[in-house]
Subunit: 68 residues, 6 copies
């Protein structure tokens, strides 16, 4: 079985904090990986994104899943 | 100015593919980082997530933003 | 009034758990429905998704809304 | 390997539509399942959500992944 | 029927752009509203968020639905 | 540095509520803005979205970030 969300970042759990309903998991990511961001064409053009650009992939914590 | 989404992964753009409305940006991430995943407490317990576990952070492409 | 998020799954609430800020709601879905997933073309091709395939729609809990 | 996103809805693909960057996948869901929605406590209270309520789980298409 | 996603911003459509699979809709928002952001407690503390602060609510386009 | 998520709504924090893991931030948005929603072409067509339509942009709280 494989899932369509292919962006996987391998790492080690550094901290687990449990709330009543939610939990936050800190993961130290230490291996290189290639990830794919999907944004609007308009944003890509406004930022003039092009091959070779130094960028950051930014992700809200509630969008990150954990696979073990 | 700082944004609440603190999960940032530095890398270099490998490919930009433009559609009519959307664009996909492939980013080679090459620096270690610590990221925080927020999941349900129930999932954290069912997976027995604990400090030191080897895991993957999995992210759907539509949830990844690009900062340049 | 109608909303663009048309994926609706009818069911009955089995459990409500309240935290300080968040709440988790368990819903027993019992009626057939057709739902639409939007993924990258690349993922669709890598998984060779085609009519007739047996698959699972997978959804992170924080992405599910409740309509009553 | 197991993923923290435990909401899985089994079904059969009815249609695949490919764009340049994105693809939409229609899935006929035909098996009962229990899914968990995480919303704010405030919304849960304003809607007076309680065990036994008939509700719909509503999901934006861009939030649905496909596992095969 | 009411939905748990209570953040609604009234406005007028300025532009509709159709792709093969996706569409982008530009909406001129012109009425004051109160919206609720849910972030990690850690981010709230690192940004020292407090009543009266001038801030921006930032939202990725793929997370915005349209109700008509 | 600029981020691809360009939808920014300026306002003032009205309330901060801290849970153990999550925090909810109420923001009074008081300036006009143009925001972009990305939905499926199918939804746009089913709702017959067109320039000049009075609509609401609807957003789940967990999808809203705060910039300060």
């Amino acid at each position: 079985m494989a899932i369509s969300a292919r962006n996987g970042l391998k790492g080690k759990i550094e901290d687990v904090k449990l709330g009543e309903v939610m939990a936050s998991i800190k993961i130290a990511v230490d291996e290189p990986a290639v990830i794919t961001a999907v944004i609007t064409r308009e944003s890509a053009e406004e930022l003039s994104l092009a091959e070779g650009d130094e960028v950051s992939a930014v992700i809200k914590s509630t969008e990150i899943m954990v696979e073990k």
